[in-house]
Amino acid sequence: MKFAKLSLAALMALGVSAFAEVQNIKVSGDAKLYYGTNDADFQAVGIRPATGDLFSKNNSAGQAALNLAVTADLSEGAQGKVEWTILNTLGLENNLVSNVWEGGLENQWWVSEAWIAKTFANTTVKIGRQSLDTPLAFTETWSIARNTFDAAVVLNNDLPDTTLVAAWIGRGNNAGGIGTSSIPGLTWGNIGPNLGVAPTYGNVVNYAANGMDSFGTFGTNGAYALGVINSSIENVSLQAWYYDVQQIARAYWLQADVKNIVPNLMFGAQYANINPDNEITPDESSAWAVKLGYDFNDAVPGLKACASYSSTDDDGLVSVANTAGTSSKLYTEAWWNYGYVGAPATDAYNITVKYDMKDIAEFGAYYTSTDQGTGKNVVTPVDMTEFTLTATKSYGSLNATLAYIYTDADDQNIDPTTGNADSFNTIQVYLTYNF
């Protein structure tokens, strides 16, 4: 909390000193109410035993969140932001749900962002608590709260059509750590205050009961990242990233995305490698993925489709996924069931179709299938199939998403008597009011 207070104080001090030069201060935010329920017979959503019934209290999770942000455009192109995140159950646990999406039952609040950014010629420096979006260390945005980092980022655009990125990550409030291992109980990175706490429905951020500091050291001693993003070739975007998670692993990520060389067609290729320190394991993890997409806009406005395939190395130990969470930036990542496509010895494919039906709603259909073989560190392979349908509609400032998810995974909803996994259905409702 000390760091949060320091960041806040620094920002406020700068804001006050530049008060006369303030061009714009905006107060905004959003309020969220998320709910999820499933009909699993054996897999509990919370601490109570599963009932197998949709909408039953034991099979449901829900929570409310408020994000309140103050952003400022200061003098000479400087910008700053402070954001508070507040989580509350609204008492849903008494009647409707048996788990929360993030944290726990108590009221939680924390400073989720507190940064200041300044541009000098072609170089931008951003320092403080912030979201990050890099292939192997990023903020997960799918749950009711998102993880952020105490970090410093430098962006440079001196080279034409090229962005150079240098980042240092000191701390984070992510509940998941680097590459969830296929060996039970072995997780890396920041597990912080959540250690020993039962996982929540989303499990993206650490528990911050009553304002408790939920930020911990990222990895063992922080991490460094370097990135180059180039778009010199028309319609082609190239990315190369290198990571050094101190005393834990080094990693790199390469990606090329090509668009419209054939009209409306897009193609992408990815390769990633994670090399853990030898004291942890001598086994490197690697993955490659390709995707092919088509925009049917000329024939059916708003319709897009994409198919992707990925494969991970058989000998790896850790997953090719977010070092600060559970999901992966591999093209094949599922809509809801994270942690499968990037696992060692796994082949995966994904088919995604999105349709923006003008003035009606946005619809999505996502099919993901993973097939894990036996590998050097995989004793019991796990296969997973997910099929998801979504509908999203905005009513003025209110955004509503309804999702249906079919899950069939070898490690979920296991009958304790037979040891066999059973498929189950999930329904989720996401309501967000922007103000």
Partner: protein
């Protein structure tokens, strides 16, 4: 005097006929002839615009019948709204991946990022001409001096030929230049 009476009658009729006005926040209201107003929903049926009233009635209206409310903008915005930057912004802009969309009309703007949609009146907070940078404020609910409540503030930068827009706000989150191209 006799000529003036029909004129006054005609003027009164006009004054009390249905009037639809789009407010700064994007909502449309019907100004009723009894001095009250109610919010209506405008929907499209084919190429027709239909106004759905809360009393269960509906009415076909032409686009020209919907008047935009006179936006009361702040002093800064007034200074900039006739600039070449404001005019160059007008239209629809999209990022290459389609995730970010801006629609700037004379009296209304829409910002879309993923599933988040902000719409309503817009204003220009600041222009840095040498650097071709512009700060826009979209969907603001209220203002107190330089304090703005609601909506989003976005920092944008034009290319030298004004054909490409760079989203500087998004760059701070995505850590790379986000190019926006004009769709229409």
């Amino acid at each position: 005097m006799k000529k003036k009476i029909p004129l006054l009658l005609f003027a009164s009729l006009l004054a009390f006929s249905s009037e639809y006005i789009t407010l700064d926040n994007g909502k449309t209201v019907l100004l009723k002839d009894d001095g009250t107003w109610e919010e209506v929903t405008i929907v499209k049926k084919g190429d027709k615009n239909i106004a759905l009233r809360k009393d269960g009635k509906w009415e076909e209206i032409k686009p020209k019948d919907i008047e935009a409310a006179q936006t009361i903008t702040n002093e800064t915005s007034k200074k900039y709204m006739d600039s070449k930057f404001a005019k160059a912004l007008l239209g629809e802009w999209r990022s290459r991946d389609g995730n970010i969309k801006y629609l700037f009309k004379k009296d209304k703007a829409v910002f879309k990022k993923g599933s988040r949609v902000v719409e309503g009146k817009w204003s220009i907070e600041h222009i840095d001409e040498p650097k071709r940078k512009i700060i826009v404020n979209i969907g603001e609910d209220a203002r107190l001096g330089f304090l703005s409540f609601g909506g989003v503030s976005r920092n944008l930068r034009f290319s030298p030929d004004f054909k490409t827009l760079y989203d500087e706000s998004e760059k701070l989150e995505k850590l790379t230049d986000i190019e926006l191209y004009k769709v229409k």
